[in-house]
Symmetry: C2
Subunit: 261 residues, 2 copies
């Protein structure tokens, strides 16, 4: 593996590139070139999701960021341990932190809901007042003005807490699960001038039937190990995924926690 | 210690007694007599606060209830692990569970806010959208209609989750911290026909300057060990508190958790 995996500020730089190239007549450069690397470079973002979910996730992710094992993470603002993230971020102003835009709450015994409150965004909550357990419920019930209001509230709460946000991504692929939700995702990208997680196709790709200019897509591919791989096989799994990758920019998503909660 | 400490349904029975005796001409019987015990009885409720706060509190409190080490507990409905409580309560329909009416969120790294949402009850949240850290902020800022709306929402959410509620008490003595808040506490008692935690004076007594008929006060005294007693001295501390108590009904409040979170 000869990839540089220290890529702080990669995505903001890329974003600046997007607008230039969208207007230019020459073929767009590769993302790696726009980031100042040769066209032959293979670049990898190692990214932890779900920061703020609980204390165990926070401790593991803080440690991985501090030790350089990962390069960035994104925050679940509605979760109860968000204040610990805000405090840690103040002590680590160079940490590469994004907002993990959330409209779902997937654990049955431990749940969260909209930061803007169930009565403000009633289409985003289930009968118990929480975000629904899974994304199809969001696609079916969420009203787009509620989605935009709530997600702006999540971003704004993080900004108000002093966190220098570098990017936006999404919990449980919510923002690419329908054309309307994807529209909000792009709108927030433009409104806050922040890059969004997006791959050409796949789990984190645009919804079916929606064509997106290549300049809007920062990543060649997102690499995530799904449950089912035995712990002893993890290193092999990652090697097999990463070794054959052609030049480009990739993001590996991990979910960190201590096994104690 | 010759106190019976299995007192399920003590408080609901007591409440039924309250209305009768408030109207009678004869001197009211003692609470222990109204519960069917002799006037010389010393009765003890052993009660755990803060159920629902986190998984560690839940595990410890469930175990203590199941093993009869405590007789009742009260639930922090706004906390993220409330759904686990609702699930456990369904499996333990005889558990003596109340609502720990909450208007504060005291941990700096882990916080919660109103179940009715910050925009519905704006006077109950701080600049970060959470309940304030301490009760004086509630006394200073909370508007009484917001308080009543939010606390009804907490009770209603627990009822909607199928929990058979036996009593109301309060987080961080919030409901006795001003005359107006105490008014809401009594109003909820009457509206839901549920007994409230109240002692004649002290931390869980009526606010200064407010006179309460003795028939409204179910407990002789609330006994809570405050931080500062070394673990090796806990048993002695409890013996010294309990041994000299005269006849009456007492409540010992404990805060249970595993030391792992």
């Amino acid at each position: 593996m000869a990839m540089p995996h220290k890529m702080r500020s990669l995505l903001p730089i890329f974003l600046a590139g997007v607008s230039c190239h969208a207007l230019s007549q020459t073929p767009p450069k590769t993302v790696q070139e726009r980031l100042g690397y040769p066209a032959s470079a293979r670049l990898l973002v190692i990214h932890a999701d779900d920061l703020g979910m609980n204390h165990s996730v926070n401790r593991a992710t803080f440690e991985a960021l501090e030790k350089g094992w990962i390069t960035s993470a994104s925050i679940l603002v509605p979760c109860p341990w968000f204040p610990e993230v805000a405090r840690w971020a103040k002590q680590h102003p160079n940490a590469d932190l994004g907002i993990h835009l959330a409209l779902t709450s997937e654990w049955t015994d431990f749940r969260w809901g909209p930061v803007s409150g169930p009565s403000r965004v009633p289409s985003l909550v289930d009968a118990d007042g929480y975000f629904p357990l899974d994304t199809p419920d969001v696609v079916q019930n969420a009203k787009i003005p509620d989605v935009e209001y709530e997600l702006r509230s999540q971003i704004d709460r993080a900004k108000a807490a002093g966190i220098p946000i570098t990017h936006l991504d999404m919990h449980m692929a919510g923002m690419v699960s329908s054309g309307e939700l994807f529209g909000v995702y792009r709108k927030l990208r433009d409104a806050y001038n922040l890059p969004i997680l997006l791959e050409p196709s796949g789990t984190h790709g645009p919804p079916a039937g929606i064509s997106v200019p290549v300049e809007e897509i920062p990543l060649q591919r997102v690499i995530t190990m799904e449950p089912g791989v035995a712990a002893k096989d993890w290193a092999d799994w990652y090697k097999k995924q990463l070794a054959p990758l052609p030049p480009g920019v990739y993001q590996m998503i991990v979910h960190l926690a201590y096994d104690d909660e």
